[in-house]
Symmetry: C2
Subunit: 488 residues, 2 copies
Amino acid sequence: MNRNLPVTDRIADGVPTGSPEEAAALIDDDATLVLSGFGRAGYPKAVPLALAASDRDLSLTVISGGSVGGEVDTALVEADAIERRFPYQATPTARTAVNDGHIAFHDRHISRLGDEVAFGHYGTPNVALVEAVAVGPDWLIPTTSVGHTPTYVHSASRLIVEVNDAQPLELQLLHDVYSRATPPNREPIPLNAPGDRIGSPRISFEPEKLEMVVRTDRPDKSYTFREPTETDEKIAANLAAFLADEVERNPLFASSVNLQFGVGSLGNALMGAFNDVDFGDRTVAYYGEVIQDGLLDMIDDDKLVSASAASLALSREGQERLFADIERYAERVIVRNADVSNNPALIDRFGVIGVNSALEVDLYGHVNSTHIAGTHVANGIGGSGDFTRNSGIGVIALGSTAKDGAIPRIVPMVPHVDHTEHDFSIIVTEQGVADLRGLAPRERADVMVSQCAHPSFQDDLRDYLERADKGGGHIPHDLTTVFDWYLD
Amino acid sequence: MNRNLPVTDRIADGVPTGSPEEAAALIDDDATLVLSGFGRAGYPKAVPLALAASDRDLSLTVISGGSVGGEVDTALVEADAIERRFPYQATPTARTAVNDGHIAFHDRHISRLGDEVAFGHYGTPNVALVEAVAVGPDWLIPTTSVGHTPTYVHSASRLIVEVNDAQPLELQLLHDVYSRATPPNREPIPLNAPGDRIGSPRISFEPEKLEMVVRTDRPDKSYTFREPTETDEKIAANLAAFLADEVERNPLFASSVNLQFGVGSLGNALMGAFNDVDFGDRTVAYYGEVIQDGLLDMIDDDKLVSASAASLALSREGQERLFADIERYAERVIVRNADVSNNPALIDRFGVIGVNSALEVDLYGHVNSTHIAGTHVANGIGGSGDFTRNSGIGVIALGSTAKDGAIPRIVPMVPHVDHTEHDFSIIVTEQGVADLRGLAPRERADVMVSQCAHPSFQDDLRDYLERADKGGGHIPHDLTTVFDWYLD
């Protein structure tokens, strides 16, 4: 153990400890639980499993910061213990339960979720259930994510902490916990550059809140990324070519480039691909929601001065790589509150280039990120709206087709809208780049078909536009046939 | 003339002057013009009319801050002089030309428009055409709006100023011009309370930009508001009842209430109605996009400590009332840059209650603010997205029906989405209030039907939901019949 760390003891003397079962017994059957966890990292594991293994008739409301592992979203769902779930779920079991209407679910913008919980939009949280690397009588240090944990600890009446020996104590070197005051006394967040630190590694709490500390030794259920496909690589190449031109042209990028990439395999592939882009003598930083493996390469190659996010959403290999050399990575990696990482004002002030994926995009630039065929939720919107809307340049990147080319992802009208035509202007597929800035809807549709749609669907899309144009209007549509693309 | 004003001369010595026709001749046939004007106030009048009266073959790109008068959006359109138009239009003539596809139009969030122009999303603006109460060699003072004028003056290569004698010199007492730096050196906007001042009454420019000053004497084409209808009054009463409870419950409103109301007759009626609401000993301020007549009542009755906006969108009577007593009103009325009035960070920091209207809302909480039947644009999104998304409490207020009850405004799925289910949670009609916080889509739909829909459409909506539910999913829809409501 590194004795130079500010905190070296996992559990301070005098803190109440107990077993996962004893902690679970402290939670009411119909409690509203607020959990640590973001980017499937740093979530509680032992107490959820103990709750799931109990024979109690639970109807919990479970609010996490973002994505968490199967200990919550599989085990507790299979135990029929969750009645309500916000704001994100990412396991097949939870997804099925949500789509069946068995679990009441709704997803919100990450940047606003903390406030919504704090201001009682979901009632009063009873218990905060939080994973930590270390805990004292009135503080804790989070593990692989900070996310909304500070806000949740502050909002909940009671606190249960899981101290996880599988999470290295050195994680304290990465964290920058900063808490905002309640409006109207809320100050601007005093972060002047993406890589600065303004807070502390610790989350403070009122000592009387702490009910029990449970000790565990169970790693995060980490991400698995597919190898970049040929499509991923073409998307990355098209995006890189666009950005190379844009940073030369746009005064926003005169001296620096601040990047964000969305969560997932495409996001990770794009992060990796950007290691090869020449940004000249500009300072390049990452200011995003999660840190994925691709960023570690950019740090190792000295291409990135800093990487700031709310979570370490790494693969197992990436986690081992980070843990093995954490003091070095800590010089450039910062893990923050999600309401700082995703803050609209900071995304704007840093002139971020925000790159996020989606399920499908329509001809006029509306984006469906969440609901397959408009009805069946995939995961959730996460922070994609925070970045898409507030970035200096908002980009949606996706393949032009799904299911081996059988299904188009450029469609006449998306049946669910998460990001509107007003929010961003750049769409990239493996076919090309649609730069919609300054274009009217009819022009947008033309560029979307010719630049972004797969050739095998271009004729169908042009037929649709011809049909739609008969009805006139600013955004031509034929409402009779607009969703035929989804119907058999 | 009040000799205590900082500036008492309309046109400083040595500034180049000319006729509207001479100024118009300085503008290229295919120029990109950036205009002052916001909330149909403070826009240039003489030079657009001179351009319209010329027999030139013009194909102008016209970018205003927001809504402008018929001198631009009727006269220039009738002269077939406009090829492109951003980001808002509000005359029947312009609307028809846009919906016919004759003018290329696109509307953007007000908060981001200034940056988009400054960073070249619409090319390089050739000429800024700006109305002023006074002008000097390297400065001007705007008239009844500030809007995006500072950014446009800064972005354009050349400048033509209309000094309008119909606009009182005392308007300089209202203005607070503040300019942000380009990211990544952009500081937080140092505004600590809605009524503070952080800038100057003047817009500065490089003296070599100023090509010509034209003198005019022509008032704004001011707003006309209909008298509040019975529906308006019921909406106001429902909203007031909701807010009276909410400010008691929500820690956000412990000491103050900062309101915003959207532009238009309903917005004005709501502003008027809020004069009767008892907010206890809380400080009540307005932090919005435009100042309408209703706010003057609240100021006169000492209910409002300040009213901050980007424009004075007053009726003729309201304008006369303000002008007659402008020094008194100047103690509480502030007219700002639109990228300050609509700034996401400030709307968040002040915990604004944002109330905006819409064309229609769907059962799951998606909002159509702009496109009738999804195709024909009405006006534009304006700042409704800035406030709906970033407010502490975002409210959409609208009547439950249109066309004397013939058309429902609560529908299964809106055919154009401007604000998503993720962005806000409160919908108010004359029927009641749908508080969607913490509800899943199926629950949202139930509340929307029972609380907000007109009774004459509730059965149809329930039939739709029953049909939709057969397909399952998180957001049940029947894509085959979802738009039958728009088809005859």
